[in-house]
Structures are given as structure tokens and as C-alpha cells.
Subunit: 314 residues, 2 copies
């Protein structure tokens, strides 16, 4: 018995880590009859064709979306408005149009004004990723056990939302629905602030007087190296995130600054009790994340550990 | 042919992650004729005996060091002065006395005043660890390809320093020698500041209004979860680090604050170019760390990735 795929034709606009992972996962799970992809640069399009993970690579956004039942913009949030404008006149009536942006309110505003009322606009954000980017970086398993947040505007067709939710569940994700504004506040703390802090501290370490760059690299296993992974994320994507979620990020930065001042004061005053109390409290958050399976329980994220050769028998 | 072990008797005072890893590594590599361990709590001592990874467990620090050729304090830096006092009169002349503290200047001062001139005091800091602690958390491979920093005071016997260096190389580590003051500055940026920042941001996320704890946990894969690992480190150890390396940590915090203000201003003003330039620069630091083998090149630290079941054959 042949089951019809969830969507006859899926169009992916942009083919970085997220677009490439959707393509590979959707193909593996048979979620699409046909997957068509496009990308802005000719080099990326050539590489996608070479990889052979989609059915067709086309040159323009407008061409990609023709006859597609599901269109997903997998590009930096700053580029979504223009892309929506480019595809608007070629969208099939009844199609679902979505995105994967890490910011929702600004992107929804930028896209919605261009989209015709004949399509269903269901914005989405899969909370998953690695520090890599580009057409080679994606993999089918990226979304497994991760959350995909949908932020359908008021009045969105419930069936369209459910259909997109089913697609994400097919890729292994859990789905949650919230408003764009609430999404932006939640992600400001679970993603945007951590990235900003990591970008900051890695920059700080690079410019120090008295400590060489070589020392920073050599002794990075003391904690610093963890931050460098996040600070190696795609610069264009993250520039757009901060420009488009300014208010929530600045609000979280304010909270962070207050807490940092409090801990700084405790250090300056030698308040061991205050430090101990704080450091004990944060431990429980880690446990909570492990309990719900949102991180690796193995020590050190399960980083590979080289082996010591056993001493030769005497 | 039997090779004599490097040290006839090694005494480990304290048996957490580091002490337990030294014991396991030294035994596997045959670096010690006998390993004697002790710990402050009776429960830990009982567990160490049960684990069977050392030759003997004794009740007091003074008893542990009798006849030992190498004594290593593997306890929080705040406890090292008192422990040095406790063992001073039982140390064998010619013995090497060392520690593993993450802070050096303050610890060296606290220990040196108690140690007799008949022993060789060679302070050490293996820059390695995981977020776990306690007698079960150690493993023989912890130090492989990591750096162990020795900070011998002026006038230390060169043979003693070399003998301790050889011991650490036997555990798989690379050895570097520097002054305690320089160590404390380098580690303030590669280890202490990152821990303080992680402890801060995890605390911030826990206390927010408008975002629930459950949301923070669920959507932590956006970057936040990386910080929770570090913020799950041993509270006693880290309290002591900040109390004992106050000046260098406050200096690094000042640098960090300046850089954070600069990035905050760029966000507030919508300076995309400035953000992009900064985010591109930090990427190269990550590459430097991978190039010298101080982190896992696999995406996401090589975290285990669950598999998608292949769609059933049609």
C-alpha cells in the first residue's frame, strides 16, 4: 500500500543548516512528493544539486514556489520580507507559507504585508541547530526531540496549522503554539542572550593585554571553549536576530546586568555564602534540562575522550 | 623486566573529580607503587574503599602522607592552607608536595608558610574537568591532551619540578610552567570569567517574570543549555576560586563589561555592520581551538544525535 506524502511539493527557499536539514529529513521520512530548493548564491545552488538531497534546484524564489503546497523560507530573518514579496504572485492558492526564523514578531510583520489572502501563513521556529552553516551542514536528525514553535496569526486556518505541525512532527520535533511576542521573549532568554554573551566573552578574550591568544586557546578547556562554539555561529543570521528582536534582548540584558552586578559585589566583598547559595541554585536548572531530555546527560556533553594506552605488561 | 614506578607511594588528599581521576590514571599507567587516599567525609572514604581504585584509604590527612614520595592536595583551594598545616609534621624529607587548585598565588601563599623546607613544593593546576563531582566522577582519561600548569616558586629544585611534570605527562597531559600570578590572570579569562557568566545567566533565566521555568527548560537547545552545564559545577570549589582570585576576576569582568556595553549599544542603535564584524571575528577563535585539538570538531560538541526511524517500506 502506498501512502500519499503529506505534501505533493515542498519548496525550500534557502539551503543552510536548517533548510538542508528539512530537506534531508523530509526526504528520509517521505513527507514530500517533490522537494524543490533554491538559494541566493549560484555556488550554493550548484552544491545543493551536487549533493543530490532534493529533487530539483531552481534559480529564483519566484520559480521555486510555483505549484508548491508548502513553502518554507529558510533564510536569515532580515531577508524574509523581500523574499515574501518576490514569491507573492507565484503562490498557489491554499498553499501553506512558513519560515524558520529565530525572531517572530518582526518577521511576521515583514512577511504578512506581502502575502496574498489566498495562502495560509503559519510562521515557525525550530529551536535546534549547530554552530555550522552552509549547504553541507544539515542532517536529517537535527530536529529530533527538539521543539518547533508555531506562531499562527489570529484567524489562521486551524487545518493549515495542524498540517504544518504534522510535518514538523514527521521530522521528529515536538510542536508548541504561542504568540509571536511571547516567542520573542522566551527565545531572548533561552537563545539570544546566551549568544550575545558568548559573542562578547570570546571577543573579550581575543583583545586582552597580558594574556596571549595562544594561551587563551591552550587553556580553553577550563570553560572558555564552550562559549567559542556558540560564538562560531553564522554572523549574518545572528546580526539579523539582534536587529529584529531588539526590545526583548535589551530587556533580558538589563536583567542579566543586574544579576552580574550582584555577583560582582559578592566577589568584591568576599561574600562566600552568597556565592555558594547562587551556585547551588543554578545546579538544579541543569538537572531539569536533563530530566526532560533536552541535553546529553553524559559529562562534558559526551565529548569524545581519547584513551590512554595501557602500560605495557611488565 | 620490571620498571620501577615513578613514585613508590602517592598520597591523594581529597577524592573528587580530580583526585579520583589522578588515582585511576596513575594506577592504569603504573605511575605509583602504592596509592593512598583520604577524604574529609566518612561517606566519601567508604565509597573510595568500595570503588577499589586505590590501595589504601586512611582517615586523616596526617596519616595519608606518611612515607609518601608525592603528596597531592585535591581539595577546594580554600581548604589547602589548613591541610598543609595538618600534614606538615608527617611529610617525608625529600617528598614532593603539590596541589591541583584552579587558583595559584593565594594557594601557594597559604600552603607555603606551613610546609617544611625539607620538602619540594611544586604547585600544579590541571586545566581539565567536567561538571560532575564526587568520588564516582573521576576517570583515567580526564587529563589526556589537556594542559597541566606548574607554578614552582623561585628556587624550587629543578629535578622535583621535572619529576612532577613527568607524572602529569604520564597521565596524558601537556605541561607548562609559569608564575602563579600569570596563571591566575590567564585562568581568570579562560575559566573563571566563563564560569561566572554562566552562573549569572542561568540564575537570570530562573527568576524571570513572563517566561516560565518550564519554557526555559524546553527551549534551552537554542543555546542556553550549554551554559547550564558549566553552571552545574561544584559550588564549593567555585566559591573558593572567586574568593581567592578576586583581583584578576574583577579585572576581567571590567573588560567584559566594556565589551558588552559596546555590543549593547550596537544593538540599540541598529548597527548591523558592527555586529556582523564582531560575530565574524569570534568565529576564528573557535577555529584556533579546533586546530590545536582543544575541542571536539564534530558539530554541537559531538553530542549524541538520536536517529529517525526510516519510513516503513511502502
Amino acid at each position: 500500500m502506498t501512502t500519499a506524502p503529506m505534501f505533493s511539493k515542498v519548496a525550500l527557499i534557502g539551503f543552510g543548516l536548517i533548510g538542508g536539514s528539512i530537506a534531508r529529513g523530509a526526504r528520509m521520512q517521505g513527507l514530500a512528493g517533490e522537494i524543490v530548493a533554491t538559494a541566493r548564491s549560484a555556488a550554493t545552488r550548484a552544491r545543493v544539486a551536487e549533493l543530490g538531497v532534493v529533487d530539483r534546484v531552481v534559480e529564483t524564489n519566484a520559480e521555486a514556489v510555483k505549484d508548491a503546497d508548502l513553502v518554507i523560507l529558510c533564510i536569515p530573518v532580515g531577508a524574509c520580507g523581500e523574499a515574501a514579496q518576490e514569491i507573492a504572485h507565484n503562490l498557489k492558492p491554499g498553499a501553506i507559507v512558513s519560515d524558520v526564523g529565530s525572531v517572530k514578531a518582526a518577521v511576521v510583520r515583514a512577511m504578512a504585508e506581502h502575502l496574498p489572502s489566498t495562502v495560509h501563513f503559519v510562521p515557525a521556529h525550530p529551536v535546534a541547530g549547530t554552530e555550522n552553516s552552509g549547504p553541507d551542514s544539515g542532517f536529517a536528525e537535527l530536529f529530533i526531540n527538539r521543539w518547533c514553535i508555531l506562531t499562527p496569526p489570529d484567524g489562521t486556518d486551524a487545518d493549515a496549522t495542524e498540517k504544518l505541525a504534522a510535518f514538523w512532527r514527521g521530522l521528529g520535533a515536538n510542536v508548541e503554539i504561542m504568540t509571536p511576542e511571547h516567542h520573542d521573549l522566551v527565545l531572548a532568554v533561552t537563545s539570544h542572550l546566551p549568544h550575545l554573551i558568548a559573542y562578547t566573552i570570546v571577543g573579550t578574550a581575543e583583545e586582552l593585554e597580558g594574556v596571549t591568544r595562544s594561551e587563551v586557546l591552550k587553556f580553553s578547556a577550563g570553560g572558555f571553549r564552550d562559549f567559542t562554539r556558540i560564538a562560531a555561529s553564522d554572523p549574518t543570521m545572528w546580526r539579523d536576530v539582534f536587529l529584529n528582536n531588539k526590545d526583548a534582548v535589551l530587556e533580558m540584558l538589563g536583567e542579566f546586568q543586574e544579576d552580574l552586578s550582584k555577583l560582582t559585589r559578592a566577589i568584591r566583598r568576599g561574600d562566600g555564602e552568597g556565592l555558594f547559595e547562587h551556585f547551588s541554585r543554578t545546579r538544579t536548572i541543569r538537572r531539569g534540562i536533563l530530566d526532560i531530555g533536552q541535553d546529553e546527560a553524559a559529562p562534558d556533553f559526551g565529548r569524545k575522550q581519547p584513551q590512554l594506552a595501557k602500560k605495557a605488561a611488565e
